[in-house]
């Protein structure tokens, strides 16, 4: 075959290019559709007034217990099986005059580490975005709490299972655009709910428009989350749990770690064989 025949001609090149474009468009259509279908929640801490109506609405919708003082403004509360969301006052460690109310809850990771470790597949990431615990399946091992980079799922000592925010998934599938209970209750518009790509656009717009430099939490943390939080400064300066800016507890990483143990086991088997071989004469004594 001569060199000329090997060369790709102009017509063939254009055909290949067109084919590649059509393939790319068709192939990515599914992914694009899935991405646009995904919902997200925007938490704008710069607008929050700390009224805790979101906490109250969450408890009402989910039938959770209310402690006597926890709904009082400025009262420090922790996530529990009866507190799917909390609002706490956080102070910037470098500028103590900067005080912000931070709403904290499950961040609904795109690649949830909790779902990856649950031994009985009780935790699922729904296509719409929420990470949901199946309470009828949960065995109460609390492995999800250990794996969560934000330390969110909490154990319910009465029901003996783990519980957390489910992004009101039982309101979303009705397809009547009902917002999660907390978003619907917010009186100052600090919470918004919608398609995730629109939420991210809105977060960027608010930060660019704002007077101070802001930080958008959830774009890269733990590989990206479906709850986007606008903070006045970096999370570590506000005493929040800092998650690594990458997808965590991936399958390949788990295989690498377990393989190291199996490799060590094979070395151990070799040493055992050596021990048996070199001390064989003791059996005959």
């Amino acid at each position: 075959m001569n060199k000329k025949a090997k060369r790709i001609g102009r017509r063939r090149f254009l055909k290949l290019l067109a084919g590649a474009l059509v393939y790319a468009a068709l192939g990515s259509a599914g992914i694009a559709a899935a991405e646009t279908r995904r919902y997200g929640k925007l938490v704008d801490t710069t607008r929050c007034i700390g009224c805790k109506r979101c906490m109250s609405a969450c408890k009402r919708w989910n039938g959770l217990k209310v402690d006597r003082y926890e709904l009082i403004t400025d009262r420090e509360t922790d996530l529990t099986a009866n507190n799917y969301t909390v609002v706490n006052l956080r102070v910037d460690v470098r500028n103590r005059a900067r005080r912000t109310y931070v709403k904290w809850q499950c961040q609904h990771c795109e690649y949830p580490a909790c779902a990856g470790v649950c031994p009985v597949t009780a935790i699922t990431k729904l296509a719409e975005g929420p990470v949901v615990i199946n309470e009828k399946k949960c065995i109460g091992c609390r492995y999800c709490y250990q794996a969560c980079p934000f330390k969110v799922p909490r154990f319910d000592f009465e029901k003996r299972i783990t519980r957390k925010c489910h992004l009101c998934y039982n309101r979303i599938p009705l397809l009547n655009y009902m917002k999660p209970a907390c978003v619907a209750a917010c009186p100052v518009g600090a919470l918004s709910f919608g398609y995730k790509h629109e939420i991210i656009k809105e977060a960027n717009r608010r930060v660019q428009r704002g007077k101070h430099t802001g930080y958008i939490l959830g774009l890269t943390e733990a590989g990206g989350t479906d709850v986007i939080t606008i903070l006045p400064t970096r999370p570590q300066k506000m005493g929040l749990v800092v998650a690594p800016k990458k997808r965590i507890s991936q399958g390949l990483d788990k295989i690498r770690i377990s393989a190291s143990g199996l490799l060590a086991a094979s070395v151990m088997a070799g040493v055992m064989h050596l021990y048996a071989h070199t001390t064989q004469d003791r059996d005959n004594d």
Binding site: P119, T121, Y143, I161, S249, K254, I257, S258, L262, A265
Partner: protein, 421 residues
């Protein structure tokens, strides 16, 4: 049979007050654990947690301590049955029985820790998560338990047949059933009697046991959010610690059993015990080297430095230096060397007990300190387990000792000479 068993227990009580005291003490421990369990069911499971922020604490530590030692026994047993060291085969029955009971009661600890233990078997079977180390660990330990039960049955089958031959009536039928006497009439009988079968089953036990142990280490090592646990170090260290805690458990239990029964140890068994003591000293030294390596590499790593300082100078420093370094690594090595030179079983016993105590504290520190960082930076007022936790752990351990004691009494666990049938 029931009448005979009762009679032998009553005779044992009559002839040995020590046995009576021992059984009563164990029964008291079990009773107190029953109280703690009942209280946790009636009041709240919260009484079994020393801090809500540390959901894995004493029960999980006790689980790892006992199960890892049981897995270590499985590896030690393979030296005889799989790798052909005949002197280790003398102790095979005791090793397998001890491994079986320690894993069974270790798993009891984890079942008590779970919120809904009744769901585990159902959902781990019908919807397991292949990405989860706990799922793999549970499945592998279940398979391992089945395999070692078969292995143990193969070892004691001859004895069961002999007992059936000596007995009459219902007892004979029960022993025949336990020995599956009918198998001899079928083609399977030849398979059961095949001398290669224990080696095959032993190999299977070794593979499943080591795989389960690796997955147990991976349960912690997979968690990227826990800096102290994460990485390939722990599956390797679990393997090594399984070996030294397994040896320590075996040596302690064997020597105590012989002393309690007032039996004379065969010279070849004694020689094997001193050989095991040598191996234990070597393993402890290797474990110490691995710990030092982890500390040095960790201190140079800015991410791991802070959690490691919890062990070195923080609230766990006392437990780390006294128990993990002193009692588990350095002191027993010297005691073992001295005991080996002077051929004293007492030294071996004390060092084994030191290793077991040190290992328990090491597991506790590993579990609790691993959860402190990064989310509880301000620290907790106390890191000690609650009374209820201690009662529950003591009771399950008491049940483990009770089953072992009864096994020792009624099963042919005692070592026979190398050339005895």
């Amino acid at each position: 049979m029931i009448k005979q068993t009762l009679q032998s227990v009553l005779e044992a009580f009559e002839h040995s007050p020590r046995f009576y005291v021992w059984i009563s003490a164990l029964a008291a421990l079990i009773f107190m654990a029953g109280y703690a369990l009942l209280a946790s069911l009636v009041l709240s499971m919260e009484i079994l947690e020393f801090s809500i922020q540390i959901p894995w604490a004493t029960l999980v530590s006790a689980y790892i301590w006992l199960v890892v030692a049981g897995s270590g026994l499985c590896i030690i047993n393979a030296l005889g049955i799989v790798f052909g060291m005949h002197r280790y085969e003398m102790m095979a029955k005791r090793i397998i029985f001890l491994s079986m009971t320690s894993i069974l009661f270790g798993l009891t600890y984890i079942l008590l820790h779970l919120g809904r233990p009744e769901r585990v078997l159902i959902y781990n079977l019908i919807s397991p998560n292949f990405r989860s180390a706990i799922s793999w660990m549970g499945a592998l330990y279940n398979v391992y338990l089945i395999v070692i039960v078969i292995e143990f049955w193969l070892l004691i089958r001859t004895d069961l047949v002999e007992r059936a031959g000596r007995a009459a009536g219902l007892t004979k039928t029960i022993f025949n059933l336990l020995a599956l006497k009918k198998l001899d009439e079928w083609r399977m009988g030849a398979v059961v009697k095949d001398p290669r079968l224990p080696r095959i089953i032993g190999t299977l036990a070794l593979v499943t046991g080591v795989a389960a142990l690796t997955m147990l280490g991976s349960v912690f090592a997979h968690i990227e959010s826990r800096v102290l646990w994460y990485g390939p170090y722990y599956p390797i260290y679990f393997l090594l610690s399984a070996l030294f805690s397994g040896y320590a458990l075996l040596l302690a239990v064997t020597i105590i059993t012989y002393r309690a029964n007032g039996d004379d140890m065969l010279p070849e068994v004694k020689a094997l015990i001193f050989e095991m003591a040598q191996v234990l000293a070597l393993l402890l030294a290797a474990g110490f080297v691995l710990t030092t390596f982890r500390l040095i590499t960790g201190l140079y790593n800015p991410v791991r430095q802070e959690p490691l300082m919890l062990l070195l100078t923080g609230p766990f420093s006392l437990a780390f230096w006294i128990f993990e370094v002193g009692l588990m690594s350095v002191l027993p090595v010297f005691v073992l060397i001295r005991a080996y030179r002077k051929k004293r079983l007492g030294g071996v016993l004390w060092s084994s007990l030191m290793v077991l105590t040190g290992t328990f504290v090491m597991r506790y520190v590993f579990i609790v300190a691993g959860q402190i960082y990064p989310n509880i930076k301000e620290g907790l007022p106390s890191y000690l387990p609650t009374v209820m936790e201690v009662l529950l752990i003591g009771g399950v351990f008491g049940a483990f000792l009770l089953v072992y004691t009864l096994g020792e009494k009624f099963l042919p666990l005692k070592e026979k000479g190398l050339h005895q049938p």
